[in-house]
Amino acid sequence: MNPFSSGTRLRDMIRAIRACKTAADERAVVRKECADIRALINEDDPHDRHRNLAKLMFIHMLGYPTHFGQMECLKLIASPGFPEKRIGYLGLMLLLDERQEVLMLVTNSLKQDLNHSNQYVVGLALCALGNICSAEMARDLAPEVERLIQFRDPNIRKKAALCSTRIVRKVPDLAENFVNAAASLLKEKHHGVLITGVQLCYELCTISDEALEYFRTKCTEGLIKTLRDMTNSAYQPEYDVAGITDPFLHIRLLRLLRVLGQGDADASDLMTDILAQVATKTESNKNAGNAVLYECVETIMAIEDTNSLRVLAINILGRFLSNRDNNIRYVALNMLMKAITFDDQAVQRHRVTILECVKDPDASIRKRALELVTLLVNENNVTQLTKELIDYLEISDEDFKEDLSAKICFIVEKFSPEKLWYIDQMLKVLCEAGKFVKDDVWHALIVVISNASELHGYTVRALYKAVLTYSEQETLVRVAVWCIGEYGDLLVNNVGMLGIEDPITVTESDAVDVIEEAITRHNSDSTTKAMALVALLKLSSRFPSISERIKDIIVKQKGSLLLEMQQRAIEYNSIVDRHKNIRSTLVDRMPVLDEATFNVRRAGSFPASASTMAKPSVSLPNGVEKPVVAPLVDLLDLGSDDILATPSSSGPDFLQDLLGVDLGASSSQPGATLAPRTGTDLLMDILSIGTPSPAQNSTSSVDLLSTADVNSNPSIALDTLSSPAPPHVATTSSNGMFDLLHGLSPSPSKEATNGPAYPPIVAYESSSLKIEFTFSKAPGNLQSTNVQATFTNLSPNTFTDFIFQAAVPKFLQLHLDPASSNTLPASGNGAITQNLRVTNSQHGKKSLVMRMRIGYKLNGKDVLEEGQVSNFPRGL
């Protein structure tokens, strides 16, 4: 009997559900039906089973839970009749997937059905297996499927072929079992079997090199002949789509030829004629024809060098690009991205059209075009393209601005011909899309500004003008606030005027207005406000004449809702009020930020290891907030916060992201409500300026923290800071500093005398690279070990973009300080050192282990080395 004939209850149920006026009604009907079905399931009446399951499938499609029907599927599959089995398998595919344990129970039924005498039942089993089989089932049932590829009925053969593609995807080891069977399918005349056979071969080629080689030598010519016969065949109504015989099969064949031709000049040579024929003869006025052309172009571009064909392909893409159909233009943009690798000039010719596509109303086209434009940029056209893009940024949709501004920033950073231009372009982006700009981008801008001393005046004036108009762009405000804080005196005195500038008159109080606006605006976020507060403190020293007014603004922040702001306001107020004599030293201009260190940090903090490895030069990192809030917050922080806890969370460690090591747990700590990372970053940063190469240290107040041997040889800056100040301030801050230095980077020499000694080890050695670890322990903290890693290049070539990464098990915590350099000279002529700090929570029970990965560029090629260190001295 037919469960679906009209008048049965499935129809009635669907009607009842459709008749519901409200969602609540629908839920009520479904609940009642589900209750009935459960009751019937409990009665275990085989008669209603398939109807119940059909109803459950409908309920499932509406989004209600139906797990209680899973066992019913299995029972139906196990029943003898075809209609029951059919609905059982359908239910199985809808209600279950490969991850459910229940699915394992069906393996046996599937095996029986694959061997069933009724070919329709075999078909059902193959279909279910192909759609949802798990790796285990694939292993168990592969022999049956392999046999069925040779079955007499073509319907079974094609199902078995696709089923095999799923099996080899799930269990690549099984690929070789299917190679011969797959090759036999390529000789088929039946289109359905042929297309599935081609698909299976394609899959095998992508999985196994041996299979690829086999098909390449045995089947290339046959496939070319099949394609040629089909291209030249007379009209076949059954397969004809818009004048093309079976475009689907065409496309699959072209795709298989692509993998066969790629990397093999002989095979590529064989297929040039037919590819040229397809490329020239295919009708391009309908979608089906264009689909074939598109695939053909892709194959031409992938196979080994055949220049004449590539010209043909590029011409087709040019035609596509000027097509009025958006779909065709979309695929053209897509393909041009690949074409750019071998014929940049040809793609550059279409630059104007592509730029137009960036402005298309369709988001899909815009996105593709933008990606393509990014690839088109080079040193010669960067100014013109950037101008076009920035002009468009002004009028583009809000939701496109984020992507667009990110790309512009990327282009500008990568190809900037000079600093002035870079700063100009970045300011334009910040004005138009400041709220979308990522942190690392404006951090980088500040680093660049800081390094361009001759442009400080120009930049701060430009920012001042911009921020008056675009005060709603958060990141613009931040950069402006920082620059005005640092270079406020240059702003009011018009120092360093460039020829291109119009002179402006800014009074001291105008400059303070901007900062006040930023700190009082209700929608400024806490970072902006914190930066504004620091800027005010700086201005209080730069503009002594209006320091009373500045003090008033600072005092108002004592009422801030943010604890951190309150505290800083009180502290800054006391600096303005009582410590006039040290104020100017305290709020001196920031030392020039070290671009190289910043870039290394940036590269390191990228979340995806793949992208870091692939193009280190491109990476856009993180973490310049510190300079901003740095100088002071930090000094004052020392007394108030738990020093050891603070540094322990320092550094936006790329390792956590990269390797999934969970170091982040310790980073949340009480008392640092305002941007806790900011404060800790600073510490990192300060240390990173100092530790690796003390030679860089200037006498600025910031650097005193970094001088490793401050204990024995206090720097001048420290003296000036502590001596004139009232006693309580002096003691707090200097104690803090000593603590800090103990915790963070005690000088190795001191270690040797204080802590127990451990022998150095060779942690890793390959033919090209040697890594040595020396150990030291901070006295009183047995759990934590300081490791100094020394990298030596044993090869005759210089390594660039050197990155060392390490991962440790959960019971360990690991910190990496920045490396001393990212370039490793050849043949052991110098070394890179990097400090690591490992905290062993199982000290005394477990010893250290570490896995590491070293990436560098050798002659422009990326090299990756990996290793594990398990020879750490005991007791660390």
């Binding site: 509406l62 989004g63 193959l126 696709l162 289109h191 059954e238 699959r252 695939e295 996105k367």
Partner: protein, 142 residues
Amino acid sequence: MIRFILLQNRQGKTRLAKYYVPLEESEKHKVEYEVHRLVVNRDAKFTNFVEFRTHKVIYRRYAGLFFSVCVDITDNELAYLESIHLFVEILDHFFSNVCELDLVFNFHKVYLILDEFILAGELQETSKRAIIERMSELEKLQ
């Protein structure tokens, strides 16, 4: 490879959902909701392709119904667009002049037709006639 196929009406009601990769139920609902939102308001002149997470959705609208196919980023968009049309032709032939109600009341048959057309996320048969014949053979066994 096809990740999933969705058939939704303008209100976002799912009329068919076939997944060739395992997803949690909650994730499926999210996907269906997101895909509907992506395609429903697009201009008719726009491309039939939308990027969706790390994949792309090829969709085509027939009256009030959206046929959406989610495929790998490297797949041939135009070919899938063509196969959506072939599927619709098959449905049209099978139900002789298909409308949304046919698909609602005979949803199980739509799934069965789809299983004859696509398997393991790949095209299984390109002949409309072959699929219709196969379906009628199977119907006779009921």
